[in-house]
Symmetry: C2
Subunit: 147 residues, 2 copies
Amino acid sequence: MAKPTKTNTPITEHLAYLLAQANREINRQLELRLSKEGVPVEQWRILKVLSDGNGHSMGELAEAVLLNHPTLTKMIDRMVSDTLVYRVQDPNDRRKVLMFISDRGKVLCKKLNSLAVDQEEHILESYGDKPTSELKRLLESLIDSSN
Amino acid sequence: MAKPTKTNTPITEHLAYLLAQANREINRQLELRLSKEGVPVEQWRILKVLSDGNGHSMGELAEAVLLNHPTLTKMIDRMVSDTLVYRVQDPNDRRKVLMFISDRGKVLCKKLNSLAVDQEEHILESYGDKPTSELKRLLESLIDSSN
DNA sequence: CTTCAATTGTTGAATATTCAATATTTTCAA
DNA sequence: TTGAAAATATTGAATATTCAACAATTGAAG
């Protein structure tokens, strides 16, 4: 009887590792583009979420931009100093703070969007149209299945 | 003539965002499992890379485990204190340090591997066999195309 | 009503990460 | 062979993140 072969999976074959690696690489590229405007990726995400013009609570924002609460609070402090966003107390629930994007924030967000679109286009070129949309589809469904 | 529709892509449709989100979620799950042994994900990666028994330089390791040099140095310091790994000066190039896994490190690594395998199996169950391998394939080729 | 638990956001201390500077060794051109 | 440049790893200061505690408000049970 054959001994069961202990296939010690190399780290490069773990899904968690592949995701981390791909994320790191794509994020680095995006970071590089956005650095033209001196803005970290997280701030772009915040501006983008707020650019629907509605007020978003801190909790909601934290969830949407993948930051935990204290980190978000401190990043928002900086963005308020830079007058990119502002706080308004929620009149319906005074525990909450509603965040809004400022006019200056909107202008910056537009510039950042076009830098980000540049990157997406670059990916489409080097990686291909079909693989990209297929990858997006799979990622979405992975995320869904994890909740 | 119709005005060109400004389709302001929501952040949730950007590849960079989907990758960040998926990575965050899967990493959180893995973290949770490994916390049973009180070990951060990065240390598991380090142990796994070193568990081939060969010496690996700091630069090589940093690349493999997705950490930059100073962060790795400080994490290795901790792991040396915990006698999970040890440093040896490279005899062929004395600028380099070769890292090796200790016996204690090997024992721990095995436990961690099985916790990680548990997670992969859990993903296979909830997400499916085919989507998982397809996702891995696409991630690998994305990473390739980014270099 | 009143009180106690839950929710929301912020703060400060502890911890971790990053950037720039440093030390050491090797490489290579003159 | 020598001296300058490149490669490798570490350090310390600056910065960022996280954890636990807190304050304020709301919800809900008695």
